[in-house]
């Protein structure tokens, strides 16, 4: 297979970037998308050209490291698939592909297709946890968790933090990511004591990081490789409203 690739090249955060055209003639339909780029990089190195930098690690679709836009779609055309699990058999000989990094103010470009997603870590550090120090846990079966809640919490917890939702959103909002964490912890009995303070803290951090606001467009759900559903945003909004209307400083709320 032959492909024409237009790839965003940017030497560093302080350099201007531009698209560069590459003719790739060694594409095998069984390759993964990243293996296709590996082969291109090996050729570039042999020609003495700087290889294309892209983030990747597990190549099994679970670590959330990889990701870029392929023809304007985060992680490319296949549903529920990270770019490392996308195979070239889904493309045709002669296809022209445009590869760009995630575009969002909160995700500055580091180099080529690599962006800085540390804003996500700062959001979690602000409140995406249950405060339980090692050693202070009761027996695992001391608190029953309704199966339905455990399943819904797992659906939300499946988020891999890749940032595709932000990249796909016209507002560059992080609502699917934050909604997923707020849902995961808020659905479990263990997450109740901090439930409302958590949502206030996380939303405050999201604003500081310059993510946009959610306007319920739904692009995030369409590209999410783990099929996190929009309902997590609804849960977040409900908890946020409740927390704001009833906030009384440090007062603890035990339930709705």
């Amino acid at each position: 297979m032959n492909l024409t690739l237009h790839i965003w090249r940017q030497k560093s955060p302080n350099h201007a970037g531009h698209m560069v055209r590459y003719e790739h003639t060694k594409v095998n339909p069984h390759m993964s998308f990243l293996e296709m780029l590996d082969v291109l990089n090996e050729e570039l190195i042999m020609k003495g050209e700087d290889p294309i930098a892209f983030d990747h690690d597990c190549r099994e679709g679970i670590c959330g490291t990889c990701g870029f836009m392929i023809n304007g779609v985060a992680h490319g055309p296949e549903r529920a698939t990270t770019v490392c699990q996308l195979h070239m058999r889904h493309f045709k000989d002669g296809d022209v592909l445009y590869l760009e990094p995630w575009r969002a103010k909160a995700f500055p470009v580091v180099k080529d297709l690599v962006v800085d997603r540390s804003a996500f870590d700062r959001i979690i550090a602000r409140g995406g946890f249950i405060s339980v120090s090692t050693g202070s846990a009761p027996d695992g079966n001391a608190v029953a968790v309704p199966k339905k809640n455990a399943d819904l919490a797992m659906d939300a917890a499946a988020c891999i933090g890749c940032g595709a939702c932000v990249a796909a959103c016209p507002n560059a909002a992080a609502a699917l990511f934050t909604g997923a964490k707020i849902s995961h912890l808020g659905l479990l009995p263990q997450g109740q004591p901090e439930r409302y303070q958590r949502v206030l803290n996380i939303v405050a951090q999201v604003k500081q990081e310059m993510f946009g606001s959610c306007t319920n467009i739904g692009e995030c759900e369409a590209v999410c490789p783990k099929e996190i559903r929009l309902e997590v945003i609804a849960r977040m909004n409900r908890d946020f409203l409740f927390a704001n209307w009833t906030a009384r400083g440090e007062t603890a709320r035990l339930d709705e």
């Binding site: 195979h87 540390s118 995406g128 090692t134 499946a158 263990q190």
Partner: protein
């Protein structure tokens, strides 16, 4: 070198409690005066960092990934063992201990394994409290399944993403401490050397992967939770970035390396499809519960599977092991797959694969029944191969996925360098020559949450640690060593890429020191690995500079270490004249092809000591005694 394991004596069930009592404590007000470096943010590193910060220590945590949440622990699928006996099926701490010692083929320390089984109970409690969404029964209680040939259901799981959920729990605990100011996180920062001052580990030299800046970080103790070395084989189920650089460079600074030849192969991976292949993907072993493994009886049979009549198929596991059939342990299944492929009966384009056929199971359970059990695995297989496993048999082949060997540690998890600790897969401690399924997650979290936070206090409380000035000659020396290596790699500008060398050494080691080994092959590898290393340092081509994001440069440093480490692995495999666990020497097998251990000669931990470049490493032995579980031969006939 003296190996003092510090293993307590007395009744095995009391040893850890007694030892914990004997450990010296650091006064809470003094804890905040100490700084601890943790390298790696996987299950072991993240849980250790969080727990030590909760105690009051100042922690600096380093990872090469862009976020601590990406460490490769995240890819573990199956589950985590704990001897809770929630299923009332006769499980106990003693049974988990017994299974683990036996599964490790009698090459692990009994005291360590018992402690692991004991702590397994606390791990589940801790993870549940953190919000890990384990599978539940309708009544709201935790669900369990049986795993890896165990006869009790003791495995806790979160769908097929247990590693991910446990890591996110530890990551969230870690980031809570980042928010509290007790942990400073250094992502995209790689450890490139260990700073040893007056015989004690006092810091690390790192390279900032974005700016290329080489820096030193000082501390009172250093903890390595940097995972295993499976990527020495190039193709493995490890993440692309997983490497042995931290533990290897610590080894070169004086930490003994134990049992490097103990590597584990997973039988159900997707076969290699071409020479561009970058990694292998594992599929849960549970597939073997319903799939039947076969190859054609005839050599070089290229007919598609549906054209091969029943009578011309060889269901070789069912034939050779009638009582266990397709469910024989990982190593037996793997070796038999290799054997039939070596006989030219392998399937697929490369001939390196065997069929895993669900046709009978589909007849019995219907497509829907199979979809309910294995739907996500079938989807994954189809996504990668493009074949529909409901219509054509899957093709599978074994791949490297875990390494039992690692830095030698005592009962306190301290290496042979005072103040340097190794936790999780980076150490050698608990799995012996073979790890049981769902035990890796258990060990990583046991080390990080419940062992290291106690034992490190004993060292700090009993050791006089001088204040160190950042201009200390040992620090300058380590920094200049790192800078020199980096510059050397950039100056070669040869004609071959880093990956081509990695692929070549990986293939060589897979052939000679992989699923099966023999003396002739290992001797040949011991000649060829150094030759390849020499070629690498003459002819590798690393473009770009050191003061920028340079992924080829990062990779070059890691491959250079694999080229050194691979030699030690072969040396260890050659010296161990027996077969045990993941180490199968062709010369040492029973007449029916099973592994033959030699307990009289090899019931010890082989701890290799670095003796300088070009010198033969020195072998130190820690004898193993089995007071509770008596060595026996495995049989699956």
């Amino acid at each position: 070198m003296e190996l003092r394991s510090k293993t307590p004596s007395g009744p095995i069930e009391k040893r850890w409690d007694q030892h914990r009592f004997d450990l010296k404590l650091v006064n809470p007000a003094n804890k905040r005066k100490y700084t601890i470096i943790v390298v790696g943010s996987g299950l072991a590193g993240a849980s250790a960092s969080a727990s030590m910060a909760e105690l009051g220590y100042n922690v600096k945590c380093f990872c090469f990934q862009d976020s601590p949440r990406r460490a490769h622990s995240i890819a573990a699928q199956g589950g985590i063992n704990a001897a809770k006996n929630y299923q009332n099926d006769g499980d106990s701490i003693y049974r988990l201990f017994y299974d683990t010692v036996k599964g490790g083929d009698f090459r692990a320390r009994e005291s360590n394994v018992y402690r692991l089984a004991h702590i397994s109970l606390n791990i589940i409690d801790q993870c549940v409290a953190q919000g890990v969404p384990f599978a539940r029964e309708y009544g709201g209680m935790l669900a369990n399944r049986s795993f890896g040939g165990a006869q009790v259901s003791r495995t806790f799981y979160a769908r097929g993403q247990t590693g991910q959920q446990l890591l996110l729990g530890a990551y969230q605990a870690l980031l809570r401490q980042v928010g509290a100011g007790k942990v400073t996180m250094f992502p995209r920062t790689e450890m490139l050397d260990l700073i040893v001052i007056e015989g004690k580990a006092r810091g690390i030299v790192t390279r900032n992967l974005i700016t290329g800046k080489i820096e030193s970080h000082l501390a009172d103790a250093v903890v390595l939770g940097t995972g295993g070395y499976g990527n020495v084989f190039y193709l493995s189920t490890n993440a692309k970035g997983s490497n042995c650089t931290a533990i290897w460079r610590a080894h070169k600074r004086g930490a003994a390396f134990a049992n490097p030849c103990f590597t584990q192969i997973h039988p159900t991976c997707i076969p290699v499809s071409g020479d561009y292949q970058s990694k292998l993907t594992l599929m849960s072993e549970s597939l073997r519960n319903d799939g039947r493994i076969w190859v054609p009886k005839k050599k070089g049979d290229t007919r598609p599977p549906h054209q091969i009549p029943e009578g011309e198929r060889d269901y070789y596991l069912e034939r050779k092991y009638p009582s266990f059939g397709n469910l024989v342990p990982r190593d037996v299944a793997s070796r038999n797959a290799k054997a039939v492929c070596d006989e030219d009966r392998g399937v697929g384009e490369s001939g390196l694969g065997v069929y895993l056929d669900f046709a009978d199971a589909i007849k019995r359970l219907g497509k829907q029944g199979i979809r309910e059990r294995y739907g996500n695995l079938f989807d994954m297989y189809e996504r990668i191969t493009g074949d529909n496993p409901y219509e054509v048999p899957m093709r599978i082949y074994p791949a490297i996925h875990y390494t039992m060997g690692g830095l030698w540690v005592d009962y306190n998890l301290m290496t042979t360098i005072p103040g340097l600790y190794a936790i999780g897969e980076a150490n050698f401690s608990d799995h012996g020559a073979n790890r049981l399924g769902a035990s890796a997650l258990m060990q990583g979290l046991a080390d990080g949450y419940f062992i290291l936070p106690y034992t490190i206090g004993d060292y700090l409380a009993t050791t006089k640690l001088e204040r160190i000035d950042s201009s200390h000659p040992c620090i300058r020396d380590a920094e200049s060593c790192v800078a020199k290596t980096t510059n050397r790699l950039l100056e070669i500008r040869g004609t071959r890429t880093v990956t081509s060398f990695h692929r070549e050494v990986g293939k060589l080691l897979w052939d000679e020191c992989g699923m099966t080994r023999n003396a002739a092959g290992l001797k040949s590898a011991l000649e060829r690995v150094p030759q390849l290393r020499e070629k690498f340092w003459k002819n590798v081509n690393v473009l770009g500079g050191g003061e920028e994001l340079n992924q080829a440069l990062e990779n070059a440093g890691r491959v250079a270490d694999f080229l050194e480490f691979g030699e030690l692995m072969c040396l260890d495999a050659l010296h161990r004249n027996e077969s045990c666990g993941g180490h199968f020497r062709e010369e040492y097998q029973t007449p029916d092809g099973e592994a033959r251990r030699n307990d009289e000669a090899f019931s010890y931990v082989a701890a290799w000591e670095y003796a300088g470049p070009g010198n033969q490493p020195i072998l130190n032995k820690e004898p193993l005694a089995f007071e509770y579980v008596h060595p026996s031969q495995r049989s699956y006939k």
